[in-house]
Subunit: 140 residues, 4 copies
Amino acid sequence: MVPVMDKAALEAFLAREFPQVRDDFVIEEVAPMAVRVRMVVAERHLRPGGTVSGPSMFALADVGIYLAILAMIGPKALAVTTNCSIDFMRKPAFGRDLICEARLLKLGRVLAVGDALIFSDGMEGAVARAGLTYSIPPTG
Amino acid sequence: MVPVMDKAALEAFLAREFPQVRDDFVIEEVAPMAVRVRMVVAERHLRPGGTVSGPSMFALADVGIYLAILAMIGPKALAVTTNCSIDFMRKPAFGRDLICEARLLKLGRVLAVGDALIFSDGMEGAVARAGLTYSIPPTG
Amino acid sequence: MVPVMDKAALEAFLAREFPQVRDDFVIEEVAPMAVRVRMVVAERHLRPGGTVSGPSMFALADVGIYLAILAMIGPKALAVTTNCSIDFMRKPAFGRDLICEARLLKLGRVLAVGDALIFSDGMEGAVARAGLTYSIPPTG
Amino acid sequence: MVPVMDKAALEAFLAREFPQVRDDFVIEEVAPMAVRVRMVVAERHLRPGGTVSGPSMFALADVGIYLAILAMIGPKALAVTTNCSIDFMRKPAFGRDLICEARLLKLGRVLAVGDALIFSDGMEGAVARAGLTYSIPPTG
């Protein structure tokens, strides 16, 4: 299966539907069943001490899998997150962007399952790992 | 075991350490191994259509368990979230605050485990359920 | 909502459909959206040292939520586990049965979500906590 | 880092410490921070209809990450599973062995985090995906 939406189409969708977060995320690559998304880390994502907050990392994993689904099924369906399990493994590097490698493991008619690795730009080991499930509403 | 920090002490801690989110959360009740926290829902927590976003609900569950731990062990230790598994079950009611009922199931020397139910104020069934693990650093 | 299957009906279903595990589980109570199930711990459930194994605790949480769903929707539907997140919190007491308190938090048309607390018979704190999601196939 | 235990050493450990499951698992490959383990599927792992049961898949993911940890830190430490989040994505093929690709994402002093993909031998998409956390007790 090949994606039906490319980088430009996904960015246009994000800007139109989620204007409040469009400046947070840059789509770096779209591939079959996978996307890479950069989170442009700003003051509002930080905890005291300069670490990116847990909710911000959750948001990045969530948007990564969401975009990977949309890339495959197109912008018409409204997928909804039903479950996320996330492990926070390392402290992100101070003041660096985060990179999310998201891939789909299952793209069913009703449920999609993906996992995401989040890296601190320039650091080797992943800072977080997440598995997410989305419910895909029936079209029609 | 009884809490070593009460509502006022937890609120002062939140205001001092997390000034950027202090207006989001109101601590409603502190009990042994449990707290109830209200999230004052504002524009910045919403998705298009007026639903509270997933990351905002994650943040509420996270802060709920965090405060339940602090209430028991005091403000000196710096607990860190290591895992969260969250189920999104219902769409929150439009424009309503969220209420988080957080309780600790285990408060060990090294790990604490808790779960949280999140309700949309005035709605019956929980909108989300989360289990969280925190790593508690050694005091020294 | 009241259960459509009682203890006797659930036990008969378990004996008929899952003969290989019917001796492992005793249904102790059935209530709206909840069941209590005992696991009769035997040699085959143990790890060296006499602790109940993780997979056995997983199996108990799984059967608990499964029976809670069946009690509400009847024996005709074939619910399938799609996700389980389980925290192992304490070592079960040596040679004691396990008790699972399972409750449903959501019973939708397509997905059911429940959580389970597992206790070692006679011990106070829960030994494990699990959240499970089941996919409910369409009838008809 | 290179493994300190190879295939033969891990198999001898498994046979000695877990005699009751040693026939279930074959270690196929050991690499830095990763192992591949085969589950030799037998009658006792099946649900009616011939599908491998959820608890059996959980057991395979658990043993896979456990062996990946032991391979790196040696047989002396007793690692304990503290959390597992598992997604069941596809029905395993009838009567086929399962293959678990386990890798460690973090191997800390106190906690290890890994993920596992489980395949039905000969089938393309993964049947299950799991993330696991282990607590590593202090040596000394």
